[in-house]
Symmetry: C2
Subunit: 558 residues, 2 copies
């Protein structure tokens, strides 16, 4: 079998409009979303089939991609296509209420679940890394990360400032691929932000795309910009050129305490991701080659300086959080014993949302027409009239986020709203208000769909962080409920060995049948999240389950 990973002649973009190229809208949706994942505007390295997140791919090889498309084009409405790590391996008879595509990516028997073994298989052409939404065909570009960060800051604001971030500021580090979303998300949530970045080109890039408002080259200027804005009650962001370790400890020495402190340098990778204090970027690059272990130590020592300042800010009353970059572990490695005194972002800020099944609900207009998204934005506001935070997001997103590939939207809603909103979209398709069907999905980073003890399930109340029965049940239930495609992945976000998670996508094509499926699947999917958190003992989840009438047989048993 030929095996082509890089094909520079490829330029994929999904069909728009209402003409079907497959047997029905369910199969059409799978085809268009696979293609959309590999759109130039969406994917990071589309010609290498890489969508995002390191080597997160949508298909194993170009031969596999072609065969998937070909197979979808001949698939019947009562058949299901099986995808094994990005390869189309079988077509089997099922029925019209079953998923049209079933996907398993990157799964390894635990004892062999390492990058070394994965890479060996990957090189042989036997595997593919699916990340989360790359291999499950529902990545929508950077909107997802902006919104996730907005939710985190929104949650910080609600927990510490009664939901009013006016006059408060956030200190962070890093304006890279993901971290660059921070200033936009922070200002959307009402905060001012000071983001320290050591690579000027990154600050300039974020200014150009409107993600950061101002650039500063010294701390005084940066603080003045922030203070002036706060006095006026404005939310602005400043990118400060500097080393985060220097700036954090300088602030500590000056006795300046931010309201919120986090960091999104690539601390998880001390060899390539964190500039040691006193080094230039060029020196860092040279030393990576000539003295890797000395470089790692230098980076970790600087991280220790930064983390010590963060611990100090926490003592002074700031809300301090690890944003999933493992900086606590790195500092601990070189002697900061109390590094884990400040919490990870999920247990501290996201888990309360997960307890109500609130997570990254998203949808895409298969018509390709932005108007379809604007109409659904409006519908969401109508149906959830009293959520200011959500309305604010939708308005800001419309204004400041440009669509990539097929127009899409993301917003965080929970058990009580997902099915309701989805059915309203289905009605809009039925009535012709929308030009074509809509696909509805989510990230795998969601309430009931992931086991990842270093991130999403860190520090669960009952100690069940590593139990992965939950995402497996989530995938089985979504298959049983009639989702359009369902996926089971391993190693997304935190890498091989560290997570198992499930994806789901379902089509609203305006039919009665879709209405029934949406009612089931988009109740069940967040429902498994509320269930998982209620089972772990969280009161918010138990209350949500009772209020929403979720059927949990052992809830309230003695």
């Amino acid at each position: 079998m030929s095996f082509t990973r890089l094909d520079k002649s490829r330029k994929i973009s999904a069909p728009h409009g209402t003409e079907l190229t497959t047997c029905n809208w369910q199969v059409e949706a799978a085809k268009r979303m696979l293609m959309n994942n590999l759109d130039d505007e969406v994917a990071e390295h589309p010609q290498a089939l890489v969508v995002y997140g390191g080597i997160g791919r949508a298909a194993r090889s170009w031969e596999c991609y072609d065969k998937i498309i070909e197979t979808l084009e001949r698939l019947k409405p009562n058949e299901s296509l099986l995808i094994q790590s990005g390869k189309p391996v079988g077509v089997f008879p099922t029925h019209e209420d079953a998923p049209r595509v079933l996907i398993a990516n990157s799964n390894l028997v635990p004892e062999w679940a390492t990058w070394e073994h994965f890479n060996e298989l990957d090189k042989k052409g036997l595997m593919m890394y699916g990340q989360m939404t790359a291999g499950s065909w529902i990545y929508i570009g950077s909107q997802g990360i902006v919104q996730g960060t907005y939710e985190t800051f929104g949650s910080v604001s609600r927990q510490h400032f009664d939901g009013d971030a006016k006059g408060k500021w956030v200190l962070t580090g890093g304006l890279g691929g993901m971290g660059g979303a921070q200033p936009l998300a922070a200002t959307m949530a009402g905060f001012c932000m000071l983001a320290v970045e050591c690579d000027e080109s990154r600050i300039d890039f974020r200014s150009r795309t409107g993600y950061v408002d101002y650039k500063a080259t010294n701390l005084d200027d940066a603080l003045k910009l922030i203070n002036d804005a706060m006095e006026k009650g404005e939310a602005i962001s400043v990118g400060l050129l500097g080393n985060a370790a220097d700036v954090y400890s300088e602030l500590q020495q000056r006795g300046v305490t931010p309201d919120v402190v986090t960091d999104q340098t690539s601390a998880h990778d001390p060899l390539h991701g964190y500039l040691p204090q006193g080094w230039t970027l060029d020196e860092y690059k040279e030393q990576q080659e000539s003295d890797p272990s000395g470089t790692v130590t230098a980076a970790k020592e600087s991280m220790a300086v930064q983390v010590r300042a963060m611990l100090h800010f926490q003592k002074e009353g700031a809300a301090v959080l690890d944003y999933g970059n493992n900086i606590r572990q790195m500092a601990k490695d070189v002697g900061v014993d109390n590094a884990f005194d400040f919490p990870g972002f999920v247990p501290a800020y996201i888990r309360p949302l997960f307890c109500e099944g609130i997570g990254p609900f998203r949808w895409v207009a298969l018509s390709g027409d932005p108007e379809d998204i604007y109409k659904t934005d409006q519908k969401v506001k109508e149906l959830i009239p009293d959520n200011e935070h959500l309305h604010n997001w939708l308005d800001m997103a419309k204004e400041r986020i440009s669509f990539q590939g097929l127009p899409s939207r993301i917003c965080w809603i929970g058990l009580k709203d997902r099915a309701r909103i989805a059915r309203a979209f289905n009605d809009m398709v039925k009535s012709g208000e929308l030009k074509a069907p809509v696909v509805i999905g989510r990230d795998h980073l969601d309430s009931g769909s992931v086991a990842s003890p270093n991130r999403e399930t860190e520090a669960m109340q009952d100690g069940s962080d590593a139990v992965s029965d939950w995402p497996l049940l989530n995938a089985l239930l979504n298959t049983a409920g009639g989702a359009t495609w369902v996926s089971l992945h391993h190693g997304g976000g935190v890498g091989m060995g560290y997570s198992q998670h499930a994806g789901v996508v379902i089509v609203a094509d305006g039919t009665e049948e879709a209405d029934k499926r949406l009612s089931r699947v988009l109740w069940n999917d967040p429902g498994t999240g509320v269930m998982r958190h209620a089972d772990a003992g969280y009161d918010i989840a138990k209350n949500c389950a009772r209020e929403q009438g979720l059927d949990l047989p052992m809830l309230d048993t003695k």
Copy 2:
């Protein structure tokens, strides 16, 4: 929540007969099979909820068991019950073609997938070990292991002796829980067998239950019994009291070479499972306590003696196989570098069957009436008229295997037969020929349902031993196809970290709908096995796929 694991007052047995205690036969079947797994005649320690295989349980606690039963009794025909490691955690709306129960047992994120972490969670009441058919409610007692062993010896016979084992003999060790099935299975397959066992009580127990024909206390007597039988063309078995290491090397010295050699002492556990040469059983027990590491070394040294003899027999032309007890590894640990020169039983003898989707198909008469099973035996013979090996099994099983709990049968059949046989059973239910519906299931040790690099997927042709996408796809597809219950487990057979596998059970209740579901599920389920082996490059599987018209998009692509 109270948490009771041991309740000496419990005595479970499944309802028999045609009266429903739940909304329909699908749910009734789940209830009866859970109860049947915990029947005194079926389970090893029913009052501790332990079914078989160490601590393989059917429910997490008695509180969970009671709640599962209670929930099944109120479950509606369009709802699904979720079981997480033996606990009923949720009831969700699905539809009538969806499974009624979805199960995930013992799954852990790989980095935490160890016995240590599992035991910690188990102690806290957060988990349960499901083994394979214990937690997925389709264990049927020792018939399963007799049949598996019969298939292995049958395959040995076909590969080496043209399917005629007359005048051939097998040398083995161990007549314990599993190993005790060897003499019965060997004689059923036409072989004579000499089984060396160091614990006389085990030989006596196997004689009493008719599993072994003769007992001998010295090698000369044993060989004479065997030789006489072979001359007469008879298949008999002899349990020889002795140490396998002694007897194997004594045979080597005498220049006697058996036709087939294997071993089923508990070599995998050198501290408790293998008696060192020259020791009494009592000495072994004492030394386990007083000098564990010296005991392990002594056991391994004796295993090395046994394995060297096995390698010698192989050189002399015997068919030698490791029967899944890890004796090769143990011998290698103490210097037998070429221990892996003889193969494991799966790659050598079972894999060719797996390539055609042939595996441990089983069914249970919900009526409780043995006549229902005898009628299905007859039906299988009618529909597969030309398979002597199978007819032989069915006749022998009827004669020599006593039912445990609900009457049941197992026989190994493949892609071309499973759906056909199941639909015929469904017709028999419909016509009233059978008194009540039948449930159809299988072991997780099957063609498409397991990834277990030290056993079922050892030495795959393409090196994909550890890829667990396959069993996950199997479970998703069986859910999509409309099985009655589906399960995903971790750690069965070989323990935590070493396997992932899926179970499926489906009810033949005589309806049209069941006919459709059976057609799909019992085609798809073995189909995934043929697919997995074809993808790995096995010609038998590729040919089977072509002959049976399995739709594998990338088969025959260049």
